[in-house]
Amino acid sequence: MSAASSYRLLFGLAVQNLGRRQSRTLLLVVAIAIASAVTFAGVVAMRSVVASMQVGLSRVGADLMVVNQDALTNLTDALLTVEPTDSTVAADAISRAEIRGIARLAAQRILRTERSGLGGAGELVDLIGFDPASDFTILPWLSERLAGPMRPGDVIVGAARNLPLGSQAVIFGLPFRVYGKLARTGSGTQERGVFLQASSLLGLAGAVRERTGTLPPMLVPERVTGFLIQLAPEATEVQARFALLSKVPEIKVIAGGALMTGIRQGLVALLAGLVGLVIALSASTAVMVMVLFSAIMAERRRELGLLKAIGARRSQIVGMAVTEAALATACGGAIGVILGLLLLRLFERALVHHLGEMGIPFLWLDGPGTIAIAAACVVGAAVVGIAGALVPAWRMGRRDIHDLLWKEG
């Protein structure tokens, strides 16, 4: 027996104290459970909405497209891919210009050729090279794919191409595996296109030169056909266009649908607001716990004085109060997670099911992510309890024992 015994004693006292005022403890647990349920359900739903938005709004296309000023563009579609053209732009033109207000930047190379070997004889095929890591307009349209991530030897085909998943596509004499297939986009280039990783497209340079006798400019590593840009929430299309045109020479900037850009930016701002709301909720709960524990400490003033008189150290007094608060609030947090799961179930029945019927995808957060948020809610609730109890307990622990035993207030 040692210090562990005194800690066991104080832990036991903390548990017993919770049982002394059952209605008050219950109220505290319920308050924390409600806050925790709202936080858990809110965060899980919000993360799911963000994931769904990233797919759904990316399908709307980019906000801006940047191509060479000599490129011919006749856009009526959403900005999902750049336009096939032989006029190219330096691959680092935009990153070097350090334009503010750009949230995402995806470079693309498009080789329009009738000698790829795909399709019928003389059929024009768009070979689109993109970087899956920075892409935000192609992968959201994936309707089916093989398991695992896309590899350099893989291609994704547009909806109009009749190639089954896992089959082999021979392009300029080189074999590729059909990794995925896009849904119908309504964009001709994308529906008929064949999408490769940029490195794979550049890897075709030798074969292309051999068959065509020339090396198309977009197959030079330092050049790209163009860029697709998604703006940051605070940036406007006019500002970004002006900055691009003033800093990057010999380019043309084409804007997508201003309405959808506005909707996307607005939703991102709304989500940021919701995060703020969750933080404010947690802070107000912490203040409530602090007020409650100030009252509890004041009520137990004489008992705390007695414990100190017979040898309890300040740290033991604080530890007991903090343990009591942490137990109650962690318990509330755990109950809150269960309530939150029920709320999410209601949300799923009320909204997600409806969205599914309308063909709008809703991507739930995965299991590990949900478990991590649940654990964070329980730990967060305990931290709120500890933070709320710490100050009043510390202040009480510092008071003169005589004052605790005999003075009021």
Partner: protein, 222 residues
């Protein structure tokens, strides 16, 4: 055993400072039964709080067995109170959610010394010393006022302190119970050699002490 040197306590109030104890010098021998008497507001409770390590003096020193208790760290002072001083307060000072046995065990368990079995055995002995070993499992609300006070005395003796401080220990008890409690305290003082310092305004109780210290206006009256 106990020495106070130039001990003073000043309280700041809305109506200005109040000097409860003014530069008091006091010596009490080991094993002595001393009573501090005085009218309400004379400073006797403030003096006992400073002697017991419950209230920091404004000036002066308190030496118990040669240790200047107010020069100790917070943890050191807590350990000193735990090991060397026992308290019997004028109010029911038992934790209501603990059984009598658990209340008596408290000082030993806070100290974290000894096995649980050894502590329980010792606590049962202390309860037997005050005639309440059959009430070990009773909660304070199931005990009479006199029995509660006996449990408090058992708890005060748990770590076998050198100094037992009793502040108006019988103020809310009937005459018969008062006599029993005072007899118990006196017996502890005699049989264990524990120095007993009793604070009371009851002169008949004080009369049974070996030494009576009169206090008025924060000073010892000769």
């Amino acid at each position: 055993m106990l020495a106070c040197r130039a001990l003073a306590k000043r309280y700041e109030t809305d109506r200005g400072p109040v000097d409860a104890v003014r530069g008091m010098d006091l010596d009490i021998e080991a094993g002595c039964y001393a009573a501090i008497v005085g009218r309400s507001g004379s400073g006797k409770s403030s003096l006992m709080s400073m002697i017991g390590g419950l209230s920091r003096p404004t000036a002066g020193r308190v030496l118990i067995g040669g240790t200047d208790i107010w020069s100790l760290s917070e943890a050191g002072a807590a350990a000193f109170r735990n090991q060397h001083v026992g308290y019997v307060f004028q109010f029911a000072s038992l934790l209501p959610n603990l059984r009598a046995l658990d209340n008596v065990e408290l000082p030993a368990r806070l100290a974290g010394k000894g096995s649980r079995r050894e502590i329980t055995g010792r606590a049962l002995e202390r309860l037997a010393d005050v005639g309440l070993d059959s009430h070990a499992d009773a909660f304070p609300s199931e005990l009479s006022s006199g029995e509660q006070r006996r449990v408090v005395i058992a708890r005060a003796l748990m770590n076998e302190p050198r100094l037992l401080l009793a502040d108006e220990p019988t103020s809310d008890l009937d005459e018969q119970t008062e006599r029993e409690i005072m007899a118990l305290l006196r017996d502890i003082n005699r049989s264990r050699g524990t120095t007993l310092l009793l604070v009371t305004h009851n002169l008949s109780l004080a009369a049974k002490a070996e030494r009576i210290i009169h206090i008025a206006n924060g000073v010892v009256v000769p």
